[in-house]
């Protein structure tokens, strides 16, 4: 399954991230994970959120340049070697990763590794064939209550 990541163009200056989170807070959008890539004076903020469509609309309305990018959100074991199994597979199959980041779902149990690759659908088939589960946007937004129930 394909998930969606929000990519937001951002000038590298104080307050930019705050203006993004403020818009998302008002739109009642929940953030699952975030990374920021910068090149000197500008960069891209990448977000995994529970409601990408609403988030995109709200941010665009606020004048920001936003793109929804298909990514793979792959479920991995949160234990030593969990991520390695996945990356070794991607390496072996020659899948080039443009960007990647992860977050934990259940401590010491499950984590999600988000990868942005050139051929998303091909990579999706590949990882699923090798026993990994991929999450789509709905699955990603559904997991949160489950996460809190553990405590």
């Amino acid at each position: 399954m394909i998930a969606h990541q929000l990519s937001i163009f951002a000038e590298n200056k104080p307050g930019k991230l705050a203006s993004v989170t403020s818009v998302l807070a008002k739109a009642k959008v929940s953030i699952r994970a975030t990374t920021i890539a910068t090149a000197d004076t500008f960069g891209v903020i990448n977000l995994i959120v529970d409601d990408p469509k609403t988030a995109q609309e709200a941010l665009t309305k606020a004048g920001m340049m936003v793109k929804l990018r298909p990514v793979l959100a792959i479920l991995i074991d949160d234990k030593p070697g969990g991520l390695d199994r996945l990356t070794q597979l991607l390496f072996k199959e020659g899948v080039n990763v443009n960007n990647a980041y992860g977050f934990v779902l259940e401590s010491r149990e499950k984590a999600v590794f988000v990868v942005d690759v050139d051929q998303t659908e091909k990579a999706e088939k590949l990882v699923e064939k090798n026993g990994f589960r991929t999450l789509d946007t709905e699955a990603l937004s559904a997991i949160e209550p489950f996460h809190y129930m553990k405590y």
Partner: protein, 432 residues
């Protein structure tokens, strides 16, 4: 003290007689050119309409656009065979203007540069190091020929390569230099890096500075750093290049050579002449040029005539240092750049949005161009590497067009200030 005493100190009435005679002759020559032949017929002007110097107002103005539209030969008043030299205004593809000279034109120009340099104290015994770009730019060859005319030993060092410049100055005991003011300040830092002081380690006693707007404060700074006299110079390729106006030892205004040029200061809006002392646009007419006479050329430079005689004894009036432009031309490191050139280039690049803003900054002693460019909304695909590639492409394309390497920042669409009417494209943060 004077290169041509009689001409430089001729009384104003006699100078006016000479000017009238030369103006009439120039008009008769100019009408043979394609441009003036047509433009004057259209305007109902005839060279014989000039009976007094006041009649100069009857001649239609000439603009840079006229020069461009008649590129390359439309202003020639002599057969091409009689030409020995061409120069082009600094700057760039598509916007360049070309000026042609006969042998007599080059002679007259050289004589004027020699007159300027002699006036400031350059002599046969001097060693003159010319740190200007040679080539199409008039500043290099113009000064080179002038110094040789005086008989000074001339070192055609060209621009840049600071360590070699310093080496040349030391090896050959350079006494006079021609240098862009911002480069003079930069070169001083190179002296420091080498553990040298110009006062002790060189014999340079004077500098000619120009080709770039600079303030009195900047000149004073250069003089303090180097412990020499720095003389301000004004010129433009349409009027030969250097040698149009130059400071005398009084360093109070630049004598503009009225035996070679007819000078008017006009109100750029009403186009009417303004009295001496009042600021306006400098309008110039060549009085001796054969190959390519240019009459009532609107320089777009703002200045004023300094009223009153100069203690040096020269009767040619003085203009104040240029205070600005009536158009949006920028001068950076001696290169003339119009915002429209940058706009044109930017708009050709896919991914560039609607608006951009140019900042001119001074970092240390270097002038920098910094451009903020809006990204087109549809271009953004969330990938940083594509943005970075766009930024690099903008830098490269501009560099090849305007000869200056700008610093480029990408910004969000519609994030730059929009103005009513004419867009403000340039913010000059350089101290003046």
């Amino acid at each position: 003290m004077y290169w041509e005493k009689e001409l430089e100190t001729r009384d104003r009435a006699d100078l006016a007689t000479l000017q009238l005679e030369r103006l009439r002759e120039t008009a008769r020559r100019a009408v043979r050119s394609h441009h003036y032949g047509k433009a004057w017929t259209d305007a109902g002007f005839h060279p014989e309409d000039i009976r007094t110097l006041g009649d100069v107002g009857k001649i239609p103005f000439t603009t840079k656009d006229d020069l461009r539209e008649n590129w390359p030969y439309g202003f020639l008043a002599v057969p091409k065979d009689d030409l020995v030299r061409m120069h082009s205004s600094s700057g760039t593809t598509g916007r360049a203007t070309v000026i042609f000279h006969t042998k007599n034109d080059v002679d007259a120009w050289t004589n004027l540069v020699a007159r300027c340099m002699y006036m400031t104290g350059l002599r046969k015994s001097d060693v003159f190091q010319n740190m200007m770009t040679y080539g199409l730019f008039t500043g290099g060859l113009g000064f080179h020929y002038g110094a040789e005319r005086i008989g000074a030993l001339t070192i055609p060092a060209g621009a840049g390569n600071s360590k070699r410049q310093i080496q040349l100055m030391r090896d050959f005991e350079t006494t006079a230099i021609h240098i862009i003011p911002s480069y003079a300040l930069h070169l001083y830092t190179v002296f420091e890096e080498l553990g040298l002081t110009p006062q002790k380690d060189t014999k340079v006693r004077m500098a000619f500075i120009g080709a770039e707007p600079h303030s009195e404060k900047m000149r004073k700074r250069i003089e303090e750093f180097y412990g020499f006299k720095a003389f301000n110079s004004y010129g433009l390729s349409e009027m030969n290049g250097p040698g149009v106006a130059f400071e005398c030892p009084e360093q109070n205004g630049m004598h503009i050579w009225e035996d070679n040029f007819l000078v008017e200061i006009i109100d750029p809006v009403t186009l009417e002449p303004v009295p001496d002392g009042q600021e306006g646009e400098l309008v110039m007419t060549t009085l001796v040029r054969e190959g390519m006479p240019v009459l009532r050329y609107r320089t777009k430079d703002l200045t004023r005539i300094l009223p009153g005689p100069c203690p040096c004894g020269r009767t040619h009036r003085r203009i104040e240092r240029i205070t600005g432009r009536t158009d949006d031309m920028m001068i950076l490191k001696g290169v003339n750049i119009f915002p429209i050139q940058i706009e044109k280039k930017l708009m050709e690049i896919p991914g560039v949005g609607r608006n951009f803003l140019i900042f001119l900054e001074r970092e240390g002693f270097n002038d920098l161009m910094h451009i903020k460019v809006e990204v087109e909304r549809g271009f953004f695909d969330g990938e940083l590497r594509h943005l970075e590639a766009l930024r690099r492409r903008i830098v490269e394309e501009l560099k090849s067009d305007i000869l200056i390497t700008p610093k480029v920042d990408l910004v969000e669409p519609d994030s730059l200030p929009k103005t009513e009417g004419k867009a403000v494209r340039v913010i000059d943060n350089r101290e003046t």
